[in-house]
Amino acid sequence: MTHSDSDVVLAVENLQTHLYTKRGLVRAVDGVSFDLRSGETLGIVGESGSGKSMTALSLVRLIPRPAARIVGGSVRLDGEEILEKSEAEMRAIRGEQIAMILQDPQSSLNPVFTVGDQIAETFQLQGKQPRGRMRERAIAALREVQVADPENRVSNFPHEMSGGMKQRVVGAIAVARRPRVLIADEPTTSLDVTIQAQYLRLLRSIQQQTGTSIIFITHDFGIVAKMCDRVAVMYAGRIVEYGPVHSIFATPSHPYTQALIASVPSPDTKVERLESIEGQPPVPWDLPKGCRFAPRCPFVMDRCRADYPPMFATQSAGDGDAEAEHAAACRLLEGES
C-alpha cells in the first residue's frame, strides 16, 4: 500500500480461515486483506454468512474450535505478527490491545456475576488490586459509558438491566483498558432505533477521547454512512470492494456493492436480506471457481468464471492518495485503469 506504514495499526494480508464442517470445507475467510489506520473507523459490510464475524474472530484468534482453523495469511498489530504468537501472548493482547464488542448484549454478560465484578475482572488482569479500588474503577468505567446511577448499578446482575444498558456494560469492558483496536460486531442489531443512535454516539465520543481504531461490522448501510471513514464490502469470504465511504456511496464499482446500495432506499434502511439481488448467496461449501458473484451478476462475462478477479483501482481513486484509495475486484474495471 502506498500510505506510510507508521499510520497502520492493524495490517491484514491474505487472511484465510477454513471451517471443517460435516458438509465439507467452508472457506469462511478466503484471502481477506485490509489495513486499519490509527483513529479511523473501518466498516465491514456484507450479507449474512459472508464471513464478517469469522474475520473478526480470526484477528484475535478466537475462532470456533476445533471446527475452524486459520490456514494462511498474516495479521500484524503495530508490525508484530499475531498469528505466530503463543496462546499466553494472545491472552495479553486480548482486552489490552484488541477488544471486541459482541453482537448480542442479552447473552454477552455472564448471568451469575455482577456487572461490577465483570468489569473489575478486566482490570484485575492487568495486575491484582484491592477490592475497593476495583469497585471504584468499575464505577468510573460505567460512568464513562453513561450508565445512570453507576454506584448502584455496579452491583446489579445482568438480568436486572435493560438490553441497551447491558450493551453499554459490554462497551465499558471493551474500552476499559484503552485498546488500540476495537472490533464491534454488529453491536446494535438487537437494540431499538433510539437506543442504537445513542450507542453509536457513545462509541464515537469514546473514540474521540481515546483515539482507538474501530472495525465496525454491520448489515446496515445507514450506520456505515454515520459511523465509518472507510468501508470494505464482503461477499462469500472475500472483500470485493473497499474505499472511503463517500466514494463508495458516490461511485459503487462492484455490481454487488451497487446492488447493496440500490437496495437501500434511504441511508436509514437496514439490509437484512438483499431481496433486490437476483439469486441466492453461493452455498459456502461449494463456491464457484471464478468470481463468486458471477452466478448472480447482471454483467457477467466469460472471463469472470475463469479465475478470481484481482483488485482494480476505480476511477474515483485519487492518484497516489492513500486516503482516497478505492478499489474493487471486478473485471468491468479492467479496461478503465
Binding site: M100, L102, S107, S108, N110, P111, V112, E121, H159
Partner: protein, 285 residues
Amino acid sequence: MAFLLSFVAGSPVEALLPADATAEDAERLTETLGLDEPLHVQYARFLQRAVRGDFGESIKWRGQSAMGIVFERLPMTLQLALTALTFSIVVAVPIGVLSAVHKDGYFDRFGKVIALLGQSLPPFWLGIMLIWFLGVGLGWLPVAGAGSWRHIVMPAIALGWYQVAAIMRLTRSAMLDVLDSEYIKLARMKGVSERSVIWKHALRNALIVPLTYLGIILGAVITRTVVVEVVFGWPGTGTLVMEAVLGRDLPVVNAVLIIFAAIFVVANFLVDILYAVIDPRIRLQ
C-alpha cells in the same frame, strides 16, 4: 401409603402370637392394638398420630417408641447418604467438565467408559464386589459395621457410584452448551485464562443442570441406602427398616417411611437454596 402397607405386610397379630395361641388370645390382642375397629376409624387414628410423629410403641423392641428408635439410627443414614453424594459429585463433576473441554478426545472416551460402568452396576452388586476385593481379598477395609472413616468408604462408593454416570453426563452436556455461549466468548475476549474460563465462568453456570438432577434423584438415593446398609451391615435406618419388616414391626416401618419422606422434602428445600446461591436470577422470585 404407610397405612396401606400395614395391610399388605400381613397381620401383626399373627406375627406376635406364639404358634400355640388360642383364638381367644388373638382376639384379646386384636382389641388392645385397636385392630378390631372399622378401617376408616383405624385410618383416622393413624393419621392423627402420624402428624404428631407418634407411631406408637415398637412391636419388636418393646417399651421404646418407634420414632425414638428411628431417630437414634437416622444420623448414620444421613452420614452415609451425604458421604455418598459428595463422592458422586467430587468424582463426576470434574470428569464431566474435562470431558466437555476435551470433547471427542481421550479424556472424553475415558469418561464414557466410566459412565457405562456406572449405570450397569447396581449398588448391591457393586457393594458385594467391593467387599470381595477390598475387604476380603486385599483386607484393606473392614467388610461391615461402622465406627471409623474406613468403615464408610465402601458403602459410600457403592451408593455414590450409581449417580456418577448421570451427573457426569449432565455436567458434560451443560458445559458444552455454556462453553459455546457468548459470555464465554467475551470472557476469553477480555484475556481471561482458560482455567478461569472453565472453572469459574463456565462451571458456575453449568452446575445448575446437575443440581436439578440431584433434587430429582434424592428420593431414589435415600431409598437405595436401605440395600447398601443391609449389604454392609451399616447401622442406619436401612438395616433398621429391614429388621422391622422381618419382625413385622409396623410402627417402626411407618416411622421410617415418614422420616424418609421428610428427608426428601427438606433436601429439596436445600437444593432450592443452593440454586439461589448459584444463580442470581432465581433469587428474585
